[in-house]
Symmetry: C2
Subunit: 362 residues, 2 copies
């Protein structure tokens, strides 16, 4: 089975057995994480970063793994998340295939991967498990929890269910509950995987692998993460060198199709299909509107992007309103980035000052 | 092969052989159409309606087919498109499977359906063929041409290439050129069909039919035709009666998933997959920005919807600017309908007055 643990990953063991919200337990589970900066003597300078669906814990370069991380421009000495002051921990989600225990991990009871026998992962399980990483590191309370996309949902669950674990929150492009539109997109992605005969009820192998289904799921993901206006500027109507081929009259013709294909190729064999199904469904199940009115945060920054079609900016506005109604001083930023849901990964001109200024004021 | 010609359809023969823009010809081709109202003696009261990808020519009830049409609230005695004054013609697109000649039609040369041997359909071919329907009916010039979505592209092509055939234009939720985002969505739909082994290079039968591929394509279409905000109001987080089934842990759980499934079921066996491929690709190829600055319209109304993610409202604003630069008095309406690309089929409260007022002023 495929697990894609980045070099230099650290691991925090979860209590064994570890019980999920659905009541089921697994043995010997662990969470992959990485850290930057130094924890102070009071353990009061920790920032916890929770990841989106496909991200690993390698948010920035480390000595053990100097390759750039997925939030490299954001984290480091003198950067917005300044590791001269903060001890930064990034946690790979429970259920992922990037080092934390998930459906692709070996079940010690059977000696085979969990596959569909993995417990019914929820966002709350991911949040619960992240608190054990804090515990493992001797951190009672994260000064700031930061989450984007699915990680932003996890951060909200953590604030709801573990109020003593978090004082301040930066919540990016997330939602207090899954919208039917987003459920529809994710449901279609899951259907693409499940319809691929090579998925085989979750029992695929490296040799017999649901590549078509994963390719469809990823392409649909990439489409939903971006916006029409951004792609117009990036791709226009540029055509590929080899024009329509008589042998494949409906094959790729435009640069944007090749871009999608490239994204799909990089993903298909580097993310476990069953893991994708569990994490995707966990997002559909998320619904914490009521509870967010009763969190106990010291402050919050909520960021949304106006061109996001998957987590529309109205959802972040809703989060901000709910947090404000709880009594937490809350700042809401509606950014005009053209990059849609993915903006936090690319529009650093807007995101760096937003995060830096908020952390600076703490 | 599947053709789905509505009862009561009329047919206009195309010149035989009929030559497409790619230089290839077919014999015995025809266009399906329906009409409402009476053509006046000068043949000067004709409105030509051009259809979107999946629509047939049955835009409203007729004596021959009293079932409601797809634009029923819009067309009839005393309605916005008032058949007491106008002679209304709705044309099924060339390449469709709803009565006009397309890939599912019999090739008289071979006695078998064209399938992938159909000429490389373009939007311009669809526009050209519509002029033969006007000819067939003794109409030199349509007073008004109305098109929405793909039909709106066809209407623009008609205005560019057949200026003497149209005086006034109502162009709805269309584009002067295909955006890379829309190309990406359509490319993924085509890929879903082509990846289905039962598509079999276009050689499927009723018994061995690419149902999975068509289901995926249609669901993706329905998602792209609507908007997140509308679905939130319609479906919220309503769950289906039968909750997650142990036998199918990633099966349908939310009402929105069942809605998509219903749409897919109604479509999959009622639209020819090859026809879908040809029409979808024709939209990708459309690019008439330059030419639209030189049309010779007497006036135009361009309508866009602010929540449309497939044909964003900026594209209709662009059309309006291009038409205005040609010298045609042009009105642009940006509607706040929540229903996205499909709004013209459902938001009659906004669309009826828009169309009625424009026609009234002519």
């Amino acid at each position: 089975m495929m697990e894609f643990t980045p070099a230099g990953s650290l691991f925090a063991p979860l209590p064994s057995p570890y019980t999920f919200r659905d009541g089921r337990s697994i043995e010997g589970a662990r969470i992959a994480y990485e850290t930057w900066g130094t924890l102070n003597a009071q353990a009061s300078n920790a920032i916890l970063i929770l990841t989106g669906l496909s991200a690993n814990a390698h948010a920035a370069a480390t000595d053990a793994n100097p390759s750039p991380g997925w939030w490299e421009p954001m984290i480091g000495s003198g950067k917005a998340i300044d590791t001269d002051n903060w001890f930064v921990v990034c946690v790979n989600s429970l259920g992922s295939c990037k080092g934390s225990t998930g459906p692709a991990s070996m079940n010690p009871d059977t000696g085979t991967p969990y596959r569909l026998d993995f417990p019914n992962l929820t966002i709350e399980d991911a949040a619960d498990s992240a608190t054990h990483v804090l515990e493992h590191l001797g951190i009672e309370t994260a000064q700031v929890v930061i989450g984007a996309s699915m990680g932003g949902m996890t951060a909200l669950a953590l604030a709801c269910d573990h109020p003593h674990r978090v004082r301040h929150l930066i919540d990016v492009s997330a939602a207090a509950t899954a919208l039917p539109f987003s459920i529809a997109v994710r449901s279609l992605q899951r259907e693409a995987i499940r319809l691929d005969p090579l998925w085989d009820g979750g029992n695929y192998t490296d040799e017999s692998y649901p590549e078509s289904g994963m390719r469809m799921a990823r392409k649909l993901g990439v489409i939903s993460y971006r916006s029409a206006i951004e792609w117009d500027g990036r791709f226009g109507r540029v055509r590929l060198d080899s024009d329509t081929d008589d042998d494949d009259p409906f094959g790729m013709e435009f640069a944007v199709e090749s871009y999608l294909e490239g994204h799909a190729r990089r993903f298909v064999r580097y993310f476990d299909p069953n893991s994708y199904l569990f994490m995707s469904r966990a997002m559909d199940w998320f619904e914490r509107i009521e509870d967010l009115q009763r969190v106990q945060l010291d402050s919050a920054l909520v960021i949304g992007v106006q061109t996001d079609i998957l987590f529309p900016v109205q959802q972040q506005e809703q989060i901000a309103e709910l947090l404000a109604s709880s009594g937490a001083p809350t700042q809401f930023l509606s950014l005009p980035s053209p990059q849609g849901h993915d903006a936090f990964l690319v529009d650093y001109d807007r995101f760096i000052p937003a995060v830096r200024d908020y952390l600076h004021r703490l």
